[in-house]
C-alpha cells in the first residue's frame, strides 16, 4: 500500500485547489489549439498572402498578435488543469499518473514542441517561439476531470470547439487565400520553396507516392491494375493537384471528425464510469484494445491534418513519430482510505494492469483463447469471404470511382491519373446546375416523387384498413391475392398495358369515357395527363403490395382494445381513428422516413418505360438524365457528379427525416 503512487485526501477535507469546470477546459482547449496549429498556419499563409493582399496580411497579423497574447493564459490554464482532481465517494483524489505515462507525455509534448519550433525555424524565425511552450504534465487528452459532472453536451461542445479550431482555421485560411486561385498560389509558394533552403527536396520521400505504392500493391493483388502507370514527380505543375487532394482530405476529415469525435468522447465517458465501486472495492478499468484503437484514431486524425500541412510545405517525414503516444486510464482507488486493510488493488496490480492492457493481445493466455476461437469459427469467416469480396468489389470499389465526378472528363487515361477539375473539383457540379436538362430532371424527380409521396403513400394504409375491416374471410383472401398481382408485373408490361388502355381510338378507358359521353384522354401525348397517369400507375402497381406491412402491423394491435371499444359502443370509424391508426403510427413513420430518404433518388425502370419524346419535359428524371447524358453521351464526369449530388442529398434527407422522427418520440430507422 505504501508503494502506491496515488495520494489520497480524507473525505470532506477542504482543499484550496481549483475545481475545473467546463469553461476553463473549453477555454484551455480553445487556446492551446489556436496556438499549436493556428499560429504556424497563420504565419504560413500570411507570407503567402503578402504578395498582393495587404488587408488580409494585416488581419492575419492581428490574429497572430492575439494568439501570442493568449499564450500565457493557455499556460496558466494548463497548470490549473494539471492540478485537477476529482471527488469520488466523498474522497478527494489527486491523479498523479505513473512513471511511464508521465514519460510518454513528456516525450509527446517535447515532440510537439520540436515540431512546432521546426515550423517556425522553417519559416525563418526560430527564436520567437522558443519560450512559448511551457508545458506541464496533464491528464490524458480527452479525459474529463470529473465524470460525474460533465455531461454529453459539455463534451460535445468542447470537442466541437477543438475540432473546429484545429481544422477550420487551416481550411478557412486556405479558402480565404484562395481569393487568388490556389494554382497561382501554389506556384508562388513553389517559387518560395525553390529559393529557400528546401530547394533540394527529395521527391522519393513524398507521402502521396508512398500511399500510392501501398494502394497499387493492394489493387494489383485484386487484379484491378495499378492506380498510376507513371511515376509521380514533384513538380510545380502538379503541385496544385496535390493541394486539391489535400483540401479535400482536410474537408472530409473535418466532417468525419465532427461526426466521430462526440461519439468518441461519449465512449470515453462510458469507460470512465466503468470505474464503479462494487461491494466496497474500486473496480479498476483496464484499457481494452478498442480504447487504443479509438485513441489512435483521434491522434491519427490530428496526425493526418498536420502531415497534410507538412506535405503542402514539401516535407513530410518530420512528424511521423509525433503522435505515437498512448494513454492508459488508470483510476484512483476510491474507498482505499476507508478500507485500507481489505483494499485489494495494490500498486503492482495497477502497474500490471497497464502492462496487461498494452500486451493484451500478445500474452499466451489471450493467444490461446484466440486460437480456440479461430478453431471454432474459422469456417464462418470462410463462408463470409465470398459475400465480403462481392461487397467490396461491387459496392465499395465503385465508391472510389466517384472521384471521376471531381476530375476532368477523360475516357483514355486510368482514373487515378486524370487531373482534377476546376473549382477545386467542383467543375461538374457548377456545370450541372447551369444545365437546363439537369435542372429539368431535378425538378421532375422532386415533382414525381413528391406526388408519389402525397398520393401514393397513403393508399396502402387506406387499403390495409379496408382489407382489415372486410368481414368475409374467403373474399378477403382472394382480394389480397389479386391486390398483390400488379406488383409482379414489370414496368415494360405495365407500360404496354397503359398504352393499350389509354389508346385514343381503341383503348378500354377511352371507350368507357366515350360511352359515358365524355371526351377521351391521351396521356402519352399530354404532359399533365402523363403525370397523372404516372402517379396512378404507381399506385396501381404498388398499393396492394404495400398493404402487407400494414396488415402485419394491424395484427399486432392488441384485440382487447377493439373489444373495449365495442363495449363502449364505438362506431367503426371511431375504432379506425382511435385504435387502428395510432397502432400503425410507428410503421407509418418508418416507411415515411424511407420515402423521404428517396425523395431525390430516382427509379429508372418506371419513368423510362413510360416515357416518350413528346412528354420528356416532365418524364425525364435524374436517372434517365444520367443514362442519356452519361452512358449514351459518355459524359462520365458530369453524370458521376450528378450521381454524387443525388446520393449525398438523399442521405441528408434520410438523416433529417430520421432525426425529425426521433425528435417526435418515434423509433427511427437508425
Amino acid at each position: 500500500m505504501t508503494e502506491n503512487s496515488y495520494s489520497l485526501w480524507e473525505a470532506g477535507a477542504e482543499d484550496s485547489r481549483f475545481e475545473s469546470g467546463y469553461l476553463p477546459q473549453i477555454g484551455h482547449r480553445l487556446v492551446c489549439w489556436l496556438i499549436f496549429p493556428g499560429v504556424p498556419v497563420g504565419v504560413f499563409f500570411g507570407i503567402l498572402a503578402a504578395g498582393g493582399h495587404r488587408a488580409l496580411l494585416a488581419a492575419i497579423l492581428t490574429l497572430i498578435g492575439l494568439l501570442f497574447a493568449c499564450g500565457p493564459v493557455a499556460a496558466a490554464l494548463r497548470v490549473i488543469w494539471s492540478l485537477n482532481q476529482s471527488r469520488v465517494d466523498g474522497v478527494m483524489l489527486s491523479y498523479s499518473g505513473t512513471f511511464i505515462e508521465t514519460a510518454l507525455f513528456l516525450v509527446k509534448i517535447s515532440l510537439l514542441t520540436l515540431v512546432t519550433l521546426g515550423f517556425y525555424w522553417l519559416l525563418g524565425f526560430s527564436s520567437v517561439a522558443s519560450n512559448k511552450f511551457i508545458y506541464q504534465r496533464t491528464a490524458p487528452a480527452g479525459m474529463t476531470a470529473d465524470p460525474g459532472k460533465s455531461g454529453f453536451i459539455g463534451n460535445f461542445l468542447s470537442i466541437i470547439f477543438s475540432r473546429v479550431l484545429i481544422t477550420a482555421i487551416p481550411i478557412t485560411l486556405m479558402i480565404m487565400t484562395g481569393l487568388i486561385p490556389l494554382r497561382q498560389h501554389s506556384e508562388r509558394f513553389a517559387e518560395y520553396v525553390a529559393q529557400s533552403r528546401f530547394a533540394h527536396y527529395d521527391p522519393s520521400m513524398d507521402i502521396w507516392m508512398m500511399l500510392r505504392q501501398v494502394v497499387n500493391g493492394g489493387l494489383s493483388i485484386l487484379g484491378l491494375g495499378p492506380l498510376s502507370s507513371g511515376q509521380t514527380h514533384y513538380h510545380t505543375t502538379n503541385f496544385y493537384q496535390e493541394s486539391t487532394v489535400l483540401i479535400w482530405t482536410a474537408i472530409l476529415l473535418f466532417i468525419a471528425s465532427l461526426v466521430l469525435a462526440p461519439w468518441y468522447k461519449h465512449k470515453m465517458m462510458r469507460w470512465e464510469t466503468n470505474n464503479a465501486v462494487v461491494n466496497g472495492y474500486q473496480m479498476v478499468y483496464k484499457a481494452k484494445l478498442n480504447d487504443y484503437f479509438l485513441h489512435f484514431f483521434l491522434n491519427g486524425f490530428l496526425c493526418v491534418v498536420t502531415l497534410g500541412l507538412y506535405a503542402l510545405l514539401g516535407f513530410n517525414r518530420t512528424s511521423m513519430w509525433k503522435f505515437r503516444v498512448r494513454h492508459t486510464h488508470v483510476f484512483i482507488p476510491a474507498s482505499a482510505q476507508a478500507k485500507s486493510e481489505s483494499y485489494l488493488v495494490s500498486a503492482e496490480t495497477l502497474n500490471r494492469s497497464l502492462k496487461d492492457s498494452v500486451r493484451a493481445v500478445f500474452n499466451p493466455a489471450a493467444r490461446r483463447k484466440f486460437a480456440n476461437y479461430m478453431r471454432r469459427y474459422w469456417s464462418l469467416y470462410t463462408l463470409l469471404l465470398i459475400p465480403a469480396i462481392y461487397l467490396i468489389i461491387f459496392k465499395y470499389v465503385p465508391m472510389l470511382y466517384i472521384q471521376i465526378g471531381m476530375k476532368i472528363n477523360n475516357i483514355v487515361l486510368p482514373i487515378w491519373d486524370v487531373p482534377w477539375g476546376d473549382y477545386y473539383g467542383f467543375q461538374w457540379f457548377v456545370q450541372a446546375f447551369g444545365d437546363r436538362d439537369f435542372l429539368l430532371a431535378l425538378r421532375n424527380t422532386i415533382m414525381l416523387n413528391g406526388l408519389d409521396l402525397l398520393f401514393g403513400f397513403p393508399m396502402p394504409i387506406i387499403l390495409a384498413i379496408l382489407l382489415n375491416e372486410l368481414a368475409f374471410r374467403r373474399f378477403k383472401r382472394i382480394s389480397q391475392t389479386i391486390f398483390y398481382m400488379p406488383h409482379f408485373l414489370s414496368w415494360v408490361i405495365i407500360s404496354a398495358l397503359a398504352l393499350q388502355l389509354f389508346n385514343p381510338s381503341s383503348g378500354l378507358f377511352n371507350m368507357v369515357l366515350s360511352r359515358m359521353g365524355m371526351s377521351g384522354v391521351d396521356p402519352f401525348h399530354m404532359s399533365f395527363q402523363w403525370v397523372v397517369m404516372f402517379v396512378l400507375l404507381g399506385i396501381w402497381q404498388s398499393a396492394g403490395w404495400g398493404t402487407i406491412i400494414y396488415l402485419a402491423a394491424i395484427t399486432n394491435i392488441n384485440p382487447e382494445l377493439y373489444e373495449a371499444a365495442n363495449v363502449d359502443g364505438a362506431s367503426r370509424l371511431r375504432k379506425i381513428w382511435h385504435i387502428t391508426l395510432p397502432g400503425l403510427r410507428p410503421t407509418i413513420i418508418i416507411l415515411l422516413i424511407m420515402r423521404l430518404g428517396s425523395i431525390i433518388g430516382s427509379d429508372f425502370e418506371r419513368p423510362y418505360a413510360l416515357r416518350n419524346t413528346l412528354i420528356s419535359q416532365v418524364s425525364d428524371v435524374i436517372s434517365i438524365y444520367i443514362f442519356r447524358v452519361g452512358i449514351q453521351g459518355t459524359k462520365f464526369s458530369l453524370t458521376a457528379a450528378v450521381g454524387i449530388f443525388q446520393s449525398v442529398v438523399g442521405l441528408m434527407f434520410l438523416f433529417a427525416a430520421n432525426a425529425l422522427a426521433k425528435k417526435f418520440g418515434e423509433r427511427g430507422v437508425m
Partner: protein, 288 residues
C-alpha cells in the same frame, strides 16, 4: 376479426369497394388477353372490351415461331434460374454467420452491408467498374453485379434468428461445426424463407431490364423485358424498317401476345407462394 359481430350494412359497403378495386386490378389484364386473342379489324374498330372478338390465335403462333423471341424467353428463364441459385447462396452465406453473436467483426460486416442500402456510388461508377474488370458486355454481367440484395439478407437473417438457439447449441455439443449446422439444421428449417427470397430474386431478374440496357450490347443476350421494350417502342414509332409487322391491327395483337408470354409465368407462380412472401416482407420490415 371479432367473431361475435354480425354482418352489417357497412360490411357490404366495404366488400363492394374491395370488389371495385379488384376490378381495377384485373380489368386491364383481361382486356389485354382479350386483345391478344382478337381479330385485328375488331380491334381497330374499338369493339374489344373484355371478351375477344373474332377469335384469333395467329398472334400467339407468330410469337411462338419468332425464334428471337422464344430464345430470349428461354434465355431469361435460364438467367432467372442461375440468378436465383447464385443469389440464394450469396444471401445464405452472408446471413448465416451474422447470427453468431460472439463472432468477431460481425458488427463491421453488418454495418458495411447495411450502409450500401443507404448510400450507393451510382450508375456511372458501376459502369466504369464493369468496364474496368471486363464484365461489361458479357453475359455474366446480367447475373453478378446485383446478385446480393441487402434487404433480402436482412429478411433471411431475421428468419435465422427465429430458429431456436437450443437447436444450434445441442448440435454444437454433438460436435457439429458451423457449416454442418447450417446444412443440416438451418437450411431444412428455412425452406419457406428460401422460397420467398427465390420469388423475390426471380421476379427481380425476370422483370428488370435496366442492367441489360446499361451494360449489354449483344442482342442475343437481351433478357425478355428489354426485347419487349424495344419491340413496343419500335412499334410505337411505326418504324418502316421493322418488317415484322405489316398492319397496325396485327401489331397490337402481336404486342399483346408477346406481353402475355412475359407475364404469365410469374402470375402462375406467385399465388402459391403468397403465405410465404407475406411472412418474408413482414420479417424484413421488422428488422429493416
Amino acid at each position: 376479426m371479432i367473431k361475435s359481430r354480425s354482418t352489417k350494412l357497412g360490411d357490404w359497403v366495404i366488400a363492394f369497394v374491395c370488389f371495385i378495386i379488384i376490378l381495377i386490378c384485373i380489368l386491364p389484364l383481361i382486356n389485354i388477353i382479350a386483345r391478344s386473342l382478337s381479330n385485328a379489324d375488331a380491334l381497330m374498330r374499338g369493339e374489344v372490351f373484355l371478351l375477344p372478338k373474332g377469335w384469333n390465335f395467329t398472334a400467339y403462333q407468330r410469337v411462338l415461331t419468332d425464334s428471337k423471341y422464344t430464345w430470349s424467353l428461354g434465355w431469361t428463364a435460364i438467367l432467372t434460374v442461375m440468378g436465383v441459385v447464385l443469389s440464394i447462396i450469396m444471401t445464405t452465406l452472408i446471413a448465416y454467420p451474422l447470427i453468431y453473436d460472439n463472432l468477431k467483426g460481425r458488427t463491421l460486416i453488418n454495418v458495411a452491408a447495411i450502409f450500401t442500402m443507404y448510400f450507393s456510388a451510382g450508375t456511372i461508377p458501376m459502369y466504369l467498374l464493369l468496364q474496368g474488370i471486363g464484365l461489361y458486355n458479357t453475359w455474366p454481367v446480367l447475373l453478378i453485379p446485383y446478385c446480393l440484395s441487402v434487404f433480402n439478407m436482412i429478411i433471411m437473417r431475421s428468419f435465422f434468428y427465429g430458429v431456436p438457439d437450443s437447436l444450434r447449441e445441442s448440435a454444437e455439443i454433438d460436435g457439429a461445426g458451423p457449416v454442418r449446422i447450417l446444412i443440416s439444421i438451418y437450411i431444412p428449417l428455412s425452406t419457406s424463407v428460401i422460397a420467398t427470397l427465390s420469388l423475390f430474386y426471380a421476379v427481380g431478374r425476370w422483370n428488370s431490364y435496366t442492367d441489360a440496357l446499361f451494360f449489354m450490347r449483344q442482342e442475343q443476350f437481351y433478357p425478355i423485358q428489354l426485347l419487349l421494350y424495344n419491340l413496343l417502342n419500335a412499334l410505337q414509332q411505326i418504324d418502316p424498317a421493322q418488317e415484322v409487322i405489316k398492319t397496325p391491327g396485327v401489331t397490337e395483337t402481336l404486342k399483346m401476345a408477346a406481353v402475355m408470354f412475359a407475364t404469365v409465368p410469374i402470375l402462375l407462380i406467385y399465388p402459391w407462394l403468397q403465405r410465404y412472401f407475406v411472412t418474408g416482407v413482414t420479417l424484413g420490415s421488422e428488422k429493416g
